[in-house]
């Protein structure tokens, strides 16, 4: 689990069933499937009122999708990628009704994107129940060009958009669902600290 020492980084308390919800809307990625199974496997009543969107990400070989399919969710959308999942989620949120509880489980960048999508549909971000599962890889926004680089496991790294050498600052934006990347060799171009794999 991510350390709670970064004051701007959210703490994800984990998934728990909201027994009062009229609908459950669940978005999961990769190992997040295991969090969904933990909560919903023995809850047939909840599953009958639930819509699940799942994309396997790097966990395709684990066949979590098959286990989720076996639970007989009222709505089930197995999506090939995060962007296609988020597009589908946006459409569902457009017609979601009062009493819908939103859940998200997976890597941190995915959690951030799902919560941001919910927020644009008027959902209080703090009402979304979230659980971090899988890689500690970070989603990082380059403060210079504003480009997002996904799955950053080491610092420093090269911005996938503008090519600057960035270090990952321990500063997190919920709105962007991303950490901040800042040029590491601005004062002495080419002088780079040793690369550390900190976020595996």
């Amino acid at each position: 689990m991510p350390a709670a020492t970064i004051k701007s980084r959210p703490i994800y308390p984990g998934l728990s069933l909201d027994g009062k919800a009229r609908r459950h809307l669940i978005a999961a990625e990769g190992e997040g499937a295991l969090a969904v199974l933990d909560v919903f496997a023995d809850q047939p009543d909840a599953v009958a009122r639930a819509t699940l969107l799942y994309t396997p990400g790097g966990s395709a070989a684990q066949e979590h999708g098959a286990k989720l399919s076996a639970l007989d969710f009222d709505g089930l959308h197995l999506m090939p990628t995060q962007p296609t999942l988020l597009t589908r989620l946006g459409v569902i949120l457009q017609t979601a009704t009062m009493g819908t509880r939103i859940y998200v489980a997976g890597v941190e960048g995915f959690i951030g994107k799902v919560i941001a999508s919910a927020q644009t549909h008027g959902v209080d971000p703090q009402s979304v129940r979230a659980e971090h599962r899988g890689s500690l890889a970070r989603r990082v926004q380059c403060v210079h060009c504003k480009g997002m680089t996904e799955n950053v496991t080491a610092t420093p790294f090269v911005c996938s958009h503008c090519g600057l050498n960035l270090f990952v600052r321990d500063h997190f934006s919920r709105r962007l669902g991303a950490f901040q990347g800042v040029c590491v060799d601005a004062e002495a171009p080419g002088e780079l600290p040793a690369r550390e794999e900190l976020y595996l």
Partner: protein, 346 residues
């Protein structure tokens, strides 16, 4: 007295400097010979005549040049000015606060006349004469916060208050000491202060937040903060750090007096009447070491403050590459004599 506005630059050829009068009124931030974080908040009461605290909003000789620099920053990077949709009432509150204060205290430069909601704003230094309807955004060339802050020195953030916290949901930030509005917008008080070292453990932010949540209308408060900047560059943003960061490597023992600037932020906070939001203004003042030591007390004191600064703060404030050279240079202006208490020159 009419202010003589200077023609000067904060980039490229860096012609910015302070007149002797501007040096005397510089808001020197150290009231003793050492520095550590504190909740150094005080009432934003009128200070001595001609000081930077004389009026709630301070306009000085750098006004016109600073507004030109802000326009350049916004042209290159519009993300420096952002506002979430629910902040529009607070934007109008801010426009009222700034226009009323500037017109009242600098009547020779600014005039505000009102006929109900039909207002007329005259800004003589910038050559602006604008009639508009208060509350109707279509009657101004920019949204209200951007309109008025393109005409007022200092960065401004508008903080929404809810859930016992303050949320940075709006702002114009073009003269910042290395923080990004675009990244921090939407964050709460604890979140946007996350990168600051030491202070969290001292409980500074909990106490400051508790204090600010109870801020009352008509009782603004202020505090001073400081850092150092190489060359009189206002736009020391993280967005442009890859362009200005190398300035820090250009300091030599010979040019410390000219290159190294003390950068002081006069931060003030006001409760707004309609929105219940809080204005957080961050006004930057810069002074090069050569100018600063013309006040002997300040030369002695800054030498002692920098010499004793904790390593974490040297690092956080970005002083590492030139801290030693600056302390050495200032030591020549410190004869060891005692300094008097308080900020002001002897």
């Amino acid at each position: 007295m009419t202010i003589q506005f200077k023609q000067e630059t904060f980039r490229d050829d860096f012609t910015f400097s302070n007149s002797p009068e501007a040096i005397r009124r510089f808001p020197f931030p150290f009231d003793r010979d050492e520095y550590m974080y504190a909740v150094n908040i005080e009432q934003h009461m009128p200070g001595p005549a001609k000081s930077a605290f004389e009026f709630p909003i301070d306009i000085d000789e750098h006004y016109v040049a600073e507004m030109q620099d802000r326009a350049l920053v916004l042209k290159e990077d519009p993300l420096r000015c952002q506002s979430l949709p629910h902040m529009i009432t607070a934007e109008w509150d801010l426009l009222e606060l700034l226009m009323e204060s500037m017109a009242k205290n600098y009547p020779e430069h600014f005039t505000l006349t009102k006929d109900g909601d039909r207002w007329r704003w005259v800004n003589r230094p910038l050559g602006i004469d604008q009639s508009f309807t208060f509350g109707d955004v279509s009657t101004l060339p920019y949204p209200p916060m951007e309109y008025v802050t393109r005409q007022c020195q200092g960065d401004f953030c508008l903080l929404d208050q809810r859930l016992d916290n303050l949320w940075m949901d709006s702002g114009i930030v073009t003269t910042q000491a290395d923080w990004s509005l675009d990244f921090d917008i939407g964050m709460n008080f604890m979140e946007w202060h996350a990168p600051v070292p030491l202070a969290h453990d001292l409980g500074v932010f909990e106490r400051a937040l508790k204090f600010l949540l109870n801020l009352q209308q008509g009782r603004p408060v202020r505090r001073l903060n400081w850092t150092m900047t190489i060359n009189p560059r206002l736009d020391t943003s993280p967005e442009n750090y890859h362009k200005w960061g190398k300035d820090r490597t250009t300091v030599t023992p010979e040019n410390v007096g000219d290159k190294v600037h003390l950068r002081v932020e006069l931060q003030a906070l006001w409760r707004l009447p309609r929105s219940n939001a809080i204005v957080f203004s961050i006004r930057a003042y810069m002074i090069k070491m050569e100018e600063l030591v013309t006040v002997p007390k300040w030369g002695r004191r800054l030498h002692r403050v920098l010499r004793g600064l904790k390593p974490e703060l040297v690092e956080y404030k970005g002083l590492s590459r030139y801290h030693g050279m600056t302390v050495d240079w200032l030591s020549r202006h410190d004869d060891g004599a005692p300094t008097s208490p308080g900020f002001f020159p002897d």
